[in-house]
């Protein structure tokens, strides 16, 4: 099954990345490393890489900070916290395309916030019309849609911290911050690793929200790497070049995920020892 559903598609993408296939002709022609060489000099690829980097770095930090913060607040049992846990997780189960359209109706130049500001006598804010604001809007919407799962994972991690250690810290006179820093945080190391890797990999592949929220605009300034792969492959019929981009992204994701996991291993080892 792994061969059929993972290795074959990857191998096929690898093969296509060395061709000029347009998706319509029956026999792709080999082009050697030309697609990879083009990728290195393509300004659109460079720009998409920068946008993806911003979304990934800022999004990963924000998702984890918000996820951990809320998990700490909701780490108690009451009806209210049960409801709040469901509420924060809810965006995660909505399809990203729906989320994109929903937020474009809120942030768009003709959207809900613009109307509210207009009624109050203010000019609308350029959430989606200014490139910098549009990238910021994408990051905010991505974080809103993703961090619910981080809350749940951090809550699960917090359940594994023995209450006796908190009690011992309390008896020793440790304050809340000290207890968190010296007891909770080190024991959350495995959860932190899982959350960081999951969010990182997810954000490097952000596509649907960009499609529905900005469509890559204005002027292609919010194109992420995944968005570029799809538009290059199916809008311009450059499936060979798109495959080269996809293989590159896959290698980057694998390298970053493995690197981050290796970096986190020391923190995790400290917990287990």
């Amino acid at each position: 099954m792994i061969t059929l559903f993972m290795l074959v598609p990857i191998a096929l993408a690898g093969y296509l990345s060395f061709t000029d296939w347009d998706g319509l002709t029956p026999n792709p022609q080999g082009v050697g490393w030309a697609n990879y060489s083009r990728l290195l000099h393509d300004a659109d690829v460079g720009h998409a890489a920068v946008v993806t980097l911003i979304v990934t770095v800022v999004g990963t930090i924000a998702c984890n900070a918000a996820g951990l913060g809320l998990a700490l607040l909701l780490n108690r049992t009451s009806r209210l916290t049960a409801v709040l846990r469901a509420v924060v997780f809810y965006p995660y189960v909505i399809g990203p395309i729906i989320i994109g359209f929903l937020w474009s109706a809120i942030l768009g130049a003709n959207g809900a916030i613009a109307h509210l500001l207009g009624n109050a006598g203010h000019s609308p804010l350029p959430f989606l019309s200014d490139p910098a604001w549009a990238v910021g809007s994408i990051v905010a919407v991505v974080v809103w849609s993703q961090f619910g799962v981080n809350v749940v994972l951090y809550l699960a991690g917090l359940q594994t911290v023995p209450a006796s250690l908190h009690e011992a810290a309390h008896i020793d006179g440790a304050g809340r911050w000290q207890t968190f820093r010296s007891v909770t945080w080190p024991l959350l190391a495995p959860s932190v690793t899982v959350n960081l890797v999951l969010v990182l990999v997810g954000l490097l592949r952000v596509y649907e929200i960009v499609l529905a929220l900005t469509g890559g605009g204005p002027a292609g300034r919010t194109n992420t790497f995944a968005f570029l792969i799809l538009s290059e492959s199916f809008r311009s019929n450059h499936l060979g070049y798109g495959a080269a981009q996809a293989i590159t992204l896959m290698v980057v994701i694998a390298a970053l995920a493995l690197g981050l996991t290796a970096l986190r291993r020391r923190a995790e080892d400290a917990v287990s020892s």
């Binding site: 059929l4 474009s104 204005p218």
Partner: protein, 418 residues
């Protein structure tokens, strides 16, 4: 170890199978029977051209041909072209396809017969690639119109419709003074499409085969009237004649703004007519042809409406061609197709709205017709041109100079032209 080896061998075998199989890329499908076939139609679905519309469209044909069944398929990817691409790769292409298809799709299509009914179909002649016709339209879709708010024009003291782009700019300035957003645009595909509508009539009026010339590097965007068109458009942006937040608007927002009476003009194709007719509005909508740079009578830029092609790998070639003939020649079917989007075809009349009659008058009064958007057949731009053009033209809203934008378009075009 043995298990690992087996996996590698299996993977290699599957890969080879995948690579050696050409999926739906067959040389030629079977002729099949014209009276007994199951036909699959991949169609362009829009708010007007719904799945139900197509089902109603083919019903008279299937009623008259009991052995033929037709299933309508909407695109499952970004558009018809991308869906066709996926279906070809998956080995299950449709029999007929309706939508905007690039030149690189031609190897997957059946050449239409050199018969009069094909030649008479709109834009069939223009669809020729390598001498053969590949696509037949049901009608002519006009793509070089300026819809305007008659009340706004009256309030701004504009008594005659603009004849040149300079006249139009002057009118837009007056409309701004009268308190309107002078001309409506938005992000998405709209920015590029509108600039193409302004440009094509001014570029192709003197060089109808301009895209063919550009494909052979005999001309360039930077060295053609595109420069004046883009300079004019950037002038509009700088003078605040387009919405300040245009790039944050979607196509539907642009329609809503115009029909709400907030903006005074809207450069758009003829498909906007049914929407404008059906909307509740407090003003009358008028229409005039996109003006030329020098004020000379403007040609009409058009595309085939609901164009049909037969896929080469269809196993029902005869039945597919017979249905295509019905769709582009049957009086009732063609009229239905024309009426749905407010399109035109000589000899096929229908009860038109006042606005549609104004468009018809523009078409009949135009000195010539030129291809719209990215062109047709040999006289067309490489696949991806519309998206790239749109992306680069949006740069005008980010203070890029027209010369820089045109240089980028030329650079993209040169590296993508085949």
């Amino acid at each position: 170890m043995k298990k690992a080896k087996a996996l590698v061998v299996t993977a290699a075998a599957l890969l080879l199978t995948a690579c050696s199989s050409s999926g739906g890329f067959q040389d030629t499908g079977d002729a099949g029977s014209a009276s007994d076939a199951k036909l699959r139609l991949l169609v362009n679905v829009t708010p007007v051209l719904t799945k139900q519309f197509y089902e109603d469209l083919v019903k008279p044909y299937t009623d008259a041909h009991p052995g033929v069944t037709v299933s309508i398929e909407a695109p499952t990817a970004a558009d018809v072209s991308a869906t066709l691409q996926q279906q070809l790769a998956a080995g299950s292409p449709p029999d007929l396809v309706s939508g905007s298809l690039g030149r690189d799709t031609v190897p997957q299509l059946t050449a239409l017969p050199e018969q009069q009914w094909v030649k008479d179909a709109p834009y069939a002649e223009q669809s020729r690639v390598g001498g053969a016709m590949w696509q037949a339209g049901s009608g002519n879709q006009v793509q070089s119109l300026v819809f305007y708010n008659k009340a706004a024009f009256a309030k701004a003291g504009i008594t005659t419709v603009p004849k040149s782009l300079a006249d139009l700019t002057a009118a837009l300035v007056k409309l701004k003074g009268a308190g309107y957003v002078p001309t409506q645009t938005s992000g998405e595909w709209v920015t590029g499409a509108q600039v193409q509508m302004l440009g094509n009539v001014n570029v192709l009026n003197t060089a109808p085969d301009w895209f063919a010339q550009r494909n052979e590097n005999k001309t360039s965007f930077a060295g053609s009237p595109w420069r004046q068109v883009l300079e004019t458009y950037q002038g509009w942006v700088k003078q605040g004649l387009t919405p300040k937040d245009a790039m944050g608007l979607k196509y539907q927002d642009a329609i809503d703004q115009f029909l709400a009476g907030k903006s005074a003009t809207f450069v758009m194709g003829g498909w906007f007519v049914p929407t404008a007719d059906e909307a509740k509005k407090s003003f009358d909508v008028g229409v005039f042809a996109v003006p030329t740079l020098d004020g000379s009578p403007a040609p009409v830029a058009g595309n085939p409406s609901i164009p049909w092609s037969v896929t080469k790998s269809s196993k029902n070639q005869a039945a597919a061609l017979d249905l295509l003939k019905f769709l582009v020649t049957d009086k009732d079917a063609v009229t239905k197709e024309l009426k749905a989007e407010g399109n035109f075809r000589k000899g096929f009349d229908y009860e038109a709205s006042a606005l549609n009659k104004e468009v018809a008058a523009i078409v009949s009064g135009a000195p010539s017709t030129v291809v719209a958007s990215n062109g047709q057949g040999d006289n067309s731009a490489p696949t991806g041109y519309n998206d790239e053009f749109n992306k680069l033209v949006q740069g005008l809203y980010l203070d890029q100079k027209p010369g820089t934008v045109l240089k980028s378009i030329d650079s993209w075009y040169t590296s993508n032209a085949k």
